[in-house]
Amino acid sequence: MRANHSGQSPIHAGSAASYAVGFVLSLVLTAIAFGLVMTGALSHGALVFVILACAVAQIVVQLRYFLHLDRSEAMYWNLMSLLFTFFIIFLFVGGSIWIMYSMHDRM
Protein backbone atom coordinates (compact mmCIF):
# COMPACT_ATOMS: atom_id res chain seq x y z
CA MET A 1 0.00 0.00 0.00
CA ARG A 2 2.92 2.32 0.76
CA ALA A 3 3.87 2.68 -2.85
CA ASN A 4 0.69 4.42 -3.86
CA HIS A 5 1.56 8.07 -3.29
CA SER A 6 1.07 9.20 -6.86
CA GLY A 7 -2.71 9.60 -7.07
CA GLN A 8 -4.71 12.44 -5.56
CA SER A 9 -7.49 10.10 -4.49
CA PRO A 10 -7.73 6.91 -2.41
CA ILE A 11 -9.72 5.32 -5.22
CA HIS A 12 -7.79 2.79 -7.27
CA ALA A 13 -10.50 2.07 -9.82
CA GLY A 14 -9.45 0.73 -13.19
CA SER A 15 -10.50 2.19 -16.50
CA ALA A 16 -13.96 1.78 -18.03
CA ALA A 17 -12.29 -0.50 -20.59
CA SER A 18 -11.09 -2.90 -17.87
CA TYR A 19 -14.64 -3.12 -16.47
CA ALA A 20 -15.96 -3.76 -20.00
CA VAL A 21 -13.46 -6.59 -20.55
CA GLY A 22 -14.31 -8.13 -17.15
CA PHE A 23 -18.04 -7.80 -17.85
CA VAL A 24 -17.86 -9.49 -21.27
CA LEU A 25 -15.60 -12.32 -20.02
CA SER A 26 -17.91 -12.89 -17.01
CA LEU A 27 -20.97 -13.01 -19.28
CA VAL A 28 -19.30 -15.50 -21.63
CA LEU A 29 -18.14 -17.79 -18.78
CA THR A 30 -21.59 -17.66 -17.11
CA ALA A 31 -23.29 -18.40 -20.45
CA ILE A 32 -21.01 -21.40 -21.11
CA ALA A 33 -21.69 -22.92 -17.67
CA PHE A 34 -25.49 -22.37 -17.71
CA GLY A 35 -25.80 -23.23 -21.43
CA LEU A 36 -24.06 -26.59 -21.10
CA VAL A 37 -26.10 -27.56 -18.02
CA MET A 38 -29.43 -26.46 -19.55
CA THR A 39 -28.85 -28.26 -22.86
CA GLY A 40 -27.28 -31.30 -21.16
CA ALA A 41 -24.80 -31.60 -24.01
CA LEU A 42 -22.03 -33.29 -21.99
CA SER A 43 -21.62 -36.34 -19.78
CA HIS A 44 -21.89 -35.89 -15.99
CA GLY A 45 -18.14 -35.96 -15.32
CA ALA A 46 -17.33 -33.51 -18.12
CA LEU A 47 -20.09 -31.13 -16.91
CA VAL A 48 -18.67 -31.08 -13.37
CA PHE A 49 -15.24 -30.26 -14.76
CA VAL A 50 -16.51 -27.49 -17.08
CA ILE A 51 -18.67 -25.87 -14.34
CA LEU A 52 -15.76 -25.76 -11.87
CA ALA A 53 -13.29 -24.57 -14.54
CA CYS A 54 -15.67 -21.75 -15.60
CA ALA A 55 -16.18 -20.75 -11.94
CA VAL A 56 -12.43 -20.57 -11.23
CA ALA A 57 -11.83 -18.66 -14.49
CA GLN A 58 -14.58 -16.15 -13.69
CA ILE A 59 -13.28 -15.63 -10.14
CA VAL A 60 -9.82 -14.88 -11.56
CA VAL A 61 -11.36 -12.52 -14.18
CA GLN A 62 -13.29 -10.56 -11.53
CA LEU A 63 -10.29 -10.38 -9.15
CA ARG A 64 -8.22 -9.03 -12.04
CA TYR A 65 -10.66 -6.66 -13.77
CA PHE A 66 -13.05 -5.59 -10.96
CA LEU A 67 -10.85 -5.74 -7.84
CA HIS A 68 -7.73 -4.76 -9.85
CA LEU A 69 -5.65 -7.34 -8.03
CA ASP A 70 -2.25 -7.77 -9.67
CA ARG A 71 1.36 -8.41 -8.71
CA SER A 72 2.23 -4.73 -8.22
CA GLU A 73 3.83 -3.55 -4.99
CA ALA A 74 0.68 -1.63 -4.04
CA MET A 75 -1.33 -4.86 -4.10
CA TYR A 76 1.33 -7.03 -2.38
CA TRP A 77 -0.44 -7.46 0.98
CA ASN A 78 -3.86 -7.81 -0.62
CA LEU A 79 -2.55 -10.65 -2.79
CA MET A 80 -0.62 -12.34 0.03
CA SER A 81 -3.61 -12.25 2.42
CA LEU A 82 -5.85 -13.62 -0.36
CA LEU A 83 -3.45 -16.50 -1.09
CA PHE A 84 -3.20 -17.27 2.63
CA THR A 85 -7.02 -17.25 2.86
CA PHE A 86 -7.24 -19.64 -0.10
CA PHE A 87 -4.85 -21.98 1.73
CA ILE A 88 -7.06 -21.86 4.88
CA ILE A 89 -10.17 -22.46 2.73
CA PHE A 90 -8.47 -25.42 1.06
CA LEU A 91 -7.84 -26.96 4.52
CA PHE A 92 -11.38 -26.12 5.70
CA VAL A 93 -13.41 -27.27 2.74
CA GLY A 94 -11.12 -30.06 1.52
CA GLY A 95 -10.65 -31.44 5.05
CA SER A 96 -14.37 -31.31 5.91
CA ILE A 97 -15.41 -33.05 2.70
CA TRP A 98 -12.67 -35.68 3.01
CA ILE A 99 -13.48 -36.53 6.65
CA MET A 100 -17.28 -36.47 6.32
CA TYR A 101 -17.42 -38.52 3.11
CA SER A 102 -14.95 -41.02 4.57
CA MET A 103 -17.17 -41.38 7.67
CA HIS A 104 -20.23 -41.70 5.45
CA ASP A 105 -18.59 -44.59 3.55
CA ARG A 106 -17.65 -46.40 6.76
CA MET A 107 -21.15 -46.27 8.24
Binding site: M1, R2, A3, N4, H5, G7, Q8, S9, P10, I11, H12, A13, G14, S15, A16, Y19, G22, F23, S26, L27, T30, A33, F34, V37, M38, G40, H44, L47, V48, I51, L52, C54, A55, Q58, I59, Q62, L63, F66, L67, E73, W77, N78, S81, L82, F84, T85, I88, I89, F92, V93, S96, I97, M100, Y101
Partner: protein, 214 residues
Amino acid sequence: MTATEAILSQHDPARDPARDLARAPAHAHDAEDVRTLGFWLYLMSDLVIFAGLFATYVVLSRNFAGGPTPKDLFDLPYVLTETAFLLCASVVYGLGLIAARNGERPKLLLCLTASFLLGLCFVSMEIGEFALMIREGAGPDRSGFLSGFFTLVGTHGAHVCFGMLWMAVMMVQTLSKGLTAPVRGRLMRLGLFWHFLDIVWIALFSVVYLLGVI
Protein backbone atom coordinates in the same frame (compact mmCIF):
# COMPACT_ATOMS: atom_id res chain seq x y z
CA MET B 1 25.69 5.53 0.75
CA THR B 2 28.23 3.09 -0.62
CA ALA B 3 27.78 1.50 -4.01
CA THR B 4 26.82 -1.82 -2.38
CA GLU B 5 24.13 -0.16 -0.29
CA ALA B 6 22.77 1.60 -3.35
CA ILE B 7 22.46 -1.71 -5.18
CA LEU B 8 20.87 -3.39 -2.15
CA SER B 9 18.30 -0.64 -1.71
CA GLN B 10 17.50 -0.82 -5.41
CA HIS B 11 16.73 -4.50 -5.14
CA ASP B 12 14.82 -4.33 -1.88
CA PRO B 13 11.60 -2.36 -2.17
CA ALA B 14 10.89 -2.88 1.54
CA ARG B 15 13.93 -0.88 2.62
CA ASP B 16 13.83 1.16 5.83
CA PRO B 17 10.19 2.21 6.10
CA ALA B 18 11.00 5.07 8.49
CA ARG B 19 13.13 6.72 5.82
CA ASP B 20 10.30 6.43 3.28
CA LEU B 21 7.77 7.88 5.69
CA ALA B 22 10.09 10.82 6.39
CA ARG B 23 10.52 11.46 2.67
CA ALA B 24 6.88 11.08 1.62
CA PRO B 25 4.61 14.09 2.14
CA ALA B 26 1.80 13.34 4.61
CA HIS B 27 -1.23 12.89 2.37
CA ALA B 28 -4.65 12.47 3.91
CA HIS B 29 -5.25 9.44 1.71
CA ASP B 30 -2.42 7.43 3.31
CA ALA B 31 -4.77 6.81 6.23
CA GLU B 32 -7.46 5.82 3.73
CA ASP B 33 -5.05 3.31 2.12
CA VAL B 34 -4.44 1.71 5.52
CA ARG B 35 -8.20 1.55 6.19
CA THR B 36 -8.72 -0.05 2.77
CA LEU B 37 -6.14 -2.74 3.53
CA GLY B 38 -7.80 -3.32 6.91
CA PHE B 39 -11.17 -3.68 5.18
CA TRP B 40 -9.59 -6.14 2.74
CA LEU B 41 -8.46 -8.25 5.72
CA TYR B 42 -12.07 -8.20 7.01
CA LEU B 43 -13.20 -9.44 3.58
CA MET B 44 -10.70 -12.30 3.84
CA SER B 45 -12.17 -13.32 7.22
CA ASP B 46 -15.65 -13.09 5.67
CA LEU B 47 -14.42 -15.40 2.92
CA VAL B 48 -13.46 -17.94 5.60
CA ILE B 49 -17.04 -17.73 6.98
CA PHE B 50 -18.42 -18.45 3.51
CA ALA B 51 -15.94 -21.32 3.10
CA GLY B 52 -17.25 -22.85 6.33
CA LEU B 53 -20.83 -22.55 5.10
CA PHE B 54 -19.84 -24.03 1.70
CA ALA B 55 -18.19 -26.99 3.45
CA THR B 56 -21.35 -27.51 5.56
CA TYR B 57 -23.57 -27.31 2.49
CA VAL B 58 -21.48 -29.75 0.44
CA VAL B 59 -21.38 -32.27 3.31
CA LEU B 60 -25.19 -32.03 3.74
CA SER B 61 -26.04 -31.62 0.05
CA ARG B 62 -27.25 -35.24 -0.48
CA ASN B 63 -29.16 -35.54 2.81
CA PHE B 64 -32.69 -35.13 1.43
CA ALA B 65 -34.56 -36.99 4.23
CA GLY B 66 -37.07 -38.15 1.61
CA GLY B 67 -37.80 -34.52 0.73
CA PRO B 68 -37.31 -32.50 -2.46
CA THR B 69 -33.97 -32.56 -4.30
CA PRO B 70 -32.22 -29.70 -6.17
CA LYS B 71 -33.73 -31.02 -9.44
CA ASP B 72 -37.26 -30.56 -8.02
CA LEU B 73 -36.56 -27.08 -6.61
CA PHE B 74 -34.08 -25.11 -8.71
CA ASP B 75 -35.19 -23.13 -11.75
CA LEU B 76 -32.04 -22.36 -13.78
CA PRO B 77 -33.41 -19.52 -16.01
CA TYR B 78 -34.55 -17.80 -12.77
CA VAL B 79 -31.07 -18.20 -11.21
CA LEU B 80 -29.44 -16.98 -14.46
CA THR B 81 -31.54 -13.78 -14.26
CA GLU B 82 -30.47 -13.27 -10.62
CA THR B 83 -26.84 -13.77 -11.69
CA ALA B 84 -27.20 -11.18 -14.46
CA PHE B 85 -28.67 -8.61 -12.03
CA LEU B 86 -25.81 -9.06 -9.54
CA LEU B 87 -23.11 -8.94 -12.25
CA CYS B 88 -24.60 -5.74 -13.69
CA ALA B 89 -24.82 -4.23 -10.18
CA SER B 90 -21.11 -4.97 -9.71
CA VAL B 91 -20.04 -3.46 -13.07
CA VAL B 92 -22.25 -0.36 -12.71
CA TYR B 93 -20.74 0.28 -9.28
CA GLY B 94 -17.27 0.07 -10.85
CA LEU B 95 -18.27 2.74 -13.39
CA GLY B 96 -19.49 4.83 -10.44
CA LEU B 97 -16.04 4.51 -8.81
CA ILE B 98 -14.42 5.87 -11.98
CA ALA B 99 -16.86 8.82 -11.88
CA ALA B 100 -16.00 9.39 -8.19
CA ARG B 101 -12.28 9.39 -8.99
CA ASN B 102 -12.91 12.00 -11.69
CA GLY B 103 -15.03 14.06 -9.30
CA GLU B 104 -18.22 13.66 -11.39
CA ARG B 105 -20.85 13.68 -8.65
CA PRO B 106 -24.05 13.43 -10.76
CA LYS B 107 -22.68 10.45 -12.70
CA LEU B 108 -21.59 8.78 -9.44
CA LEU B 109 -25.07 9.24 -7.93
CA LEU B 110 -26.66 7.82 -11.07
CA CYS B 111 -24.41 4.73 -10.91
CA LEU B 112 -25.04 4.27 -7.17
CA THR B 113 -28.80 4.45 -7.73
CA ALA B 114 -28.65 2.01 -10.66
CA SER B 115 -26.42 -0.40 -8.72
CA PHE B 116 -28.74 -0.18 -5.70
CA LEU B 117 -31.80 -0.97 -7.85
CA LEU B 118 -30.03 -3.91 -9.56
CA GLY B 119 -29.09 -5.23 -6.10
CA LEU B 120 -32.71 -4.78 -5.05
CA CYS B 121 -33.87 -6.84 -8.06
CA PHE B 122 -31.44 -9.59 -7.04
CA VAL B 123 -32.57 -9.62 -3.40
CA SER B 124 -36.28 -9.49 -4.36
CA MET B 125 -35.85 -12.49 -6.67
CA GLU B 126 -34.02 -14.38 -3.92
CA ILE B 127 -36.74 -13.60 -1.36
CA GLY B 128 -39.34 -14.70 -3.95
CA GLU B 129 -37.48 -18.00 -4.44
CA PHE B 130 -37.22 -18.59 -0.67
CA ALA B 131 -40.91 -17.76 -0.12
CA LEU B 132 -42.02 -20.15 -2.87
CA MET B 133 -39.84 -22.97 -1.49
CA ILE B 134 -41.18 -22.47 2.06
CA ARG B 135 -44.80 -22.42 0.77
CA GLU B 136 -44.13 -25.71 -1.04
CA GLY B 137 -42.96 -27.27 2.24
CA ALA B 138 -39.26 -27.06 1.31
CA GLY B 139 -38.19 -24.73 4.12
CA PRO B 140 -34.91 -24.91 6.04
CA ASP B 141 -36.44 -27.39 8.53
CA ARG B 142 -37.28 -29.99 5.85
CA SER B 143 -33.87 -31.70 5.40
CA GLY B 144 -30.13 -31.33 5.97
CA PHE B 145 -29.75 -30.26 2.34
CA LEU B 146 -32.30 -27.45 2.77
CA SER B 147 -30.80 -26.29 6.10
CA GLY B 148 -27.42 -25.97 4.39
CA PHE B 149 -28.97 -24.29 1.34
CA PHE B 150 -30.91 -21.62 3.27
CA THR B 151 -27.94 -20.87 5.56
CA LEU B 152 -25.44 -20.45 2.72
CA VAL B 153 -27.64 -18.59 0.21
CA GLY B 154 -29.36 -16.58 2.97
CA THR B 155 -26.01 -15.41 4.40
CA HIS B 156 -24.99 -14.17 0.96
CA GLY B 157 -28.36 -12.44 0.52
CA ALA B 158 -27.99 -10.75 3.93
CA HIS B 159 -24.57 -9.46 2.85
CA VAL B 160 -26.12 -7.99 -0.31
CA CYS B 161 -28.80 -6.27 1.85
CA PHE B 162 -26.11 -4.70 4.07
CA GLY B 163 -24.23 -3.62 0.93
CA MET B 164 -27.40 -1.85 -0.25
CA LEU B 165 -27.83 -0.17 3.15
CA TRP B 166 -24.21 1.03 2.95
CA MET B 167 -24.83 2.23 -0.62
CA ALA B 168 -27.84 4.29 0.53
CA VAL B 169 -25.66 5.84 3.28
CA MET B 170 -22.99 6.68 0.69
CA MET B 171 -25.57 8.37 -1.57
CA VAL B 172 -26.54 10.62 1.36
CA GLN B 173 -22.88 11.29 2.26
CA THR B 174 -21.99 12.09 -1.36
CA LEU B 175 -24.81 14.66 -1.40
CA SER B 176 -24.20 16.11 2.07
CA LYS B 177 -20.39 15.98 2.43
CA GLY B 178 -19.24 15.98 -1.20
CA LEU B 179 -16.37 13.87 -2.53
CA THR B 180 -13.97 14.41 0.38
CA ALA B 181 -11.06 12.00 0.96
CA PRO B 182 -12.93 9.99 3.65
CA VAL B 183 -16.04 9.70 1.42
CA ARG B 184 -13.90 8.53 -1.51
CA GLY B 185 -12.21 5.99 0.78
CA ARG B 186 -15.60 4.65 1.91
CA LEU B 187 -16.80 4.44 -1.70
CA MET B 188 -13.65 2.48 -2.55
CA ARG B 189 -14.22 0.02 0.34
CA LEU B 190 -17.90 -0.41 -0.52
CA GLY B 191 -16.68 -1.24 -4.04
CA LEU B 192 -14.44 -3.98 -2.68
CA PHE B 193 -17.37 -5.36 -0.66
CA TRP B 194 -19.78 -5.21 -3.63
CA HIS B 195 -17.36 -6.90 -6.10
CA PHE B 196 -16.47 -9.47 -3.42
CA LEU B 197 -20.16 -10.44 -3.07
CA ASP B 198 -20.39 -11.04 -6.82
CA ILE B 199 -17.31 -13.30 -6.61
CA VAL B 200 -18.90 -15.31 -3.77
CA TRP B 201 -22.06 -15.60 -5.93
CA ILE B 202 -19.99 -17.21 -8.77
CA ALA B 203 -18.94 -19.99 -6.39
CA LEU B 204 -22.52 -20.18 -5.10
CA PHE B 205 -24.37 -20.56 -8.41
CA SER B 206 -21.73 -23.01 -9.67
CA VAL B 207 -21.62 -25.29 -6.62
CA VAL B 208 -25.21 -25.04 -5.34
CA TYR B 209 -27.35 -24.55 -8.44
CA LEU B 210 -25.39 -25.91 -11.43
CA LEU B 211 -23.72 -28.87 -9.70
CA GLY B 212 -27.02 -29.46 -7.85
CA VAL B 213 -29.19 -30.08 -10.90
CA ILE B 214 -26.82 -32.22 -13.00
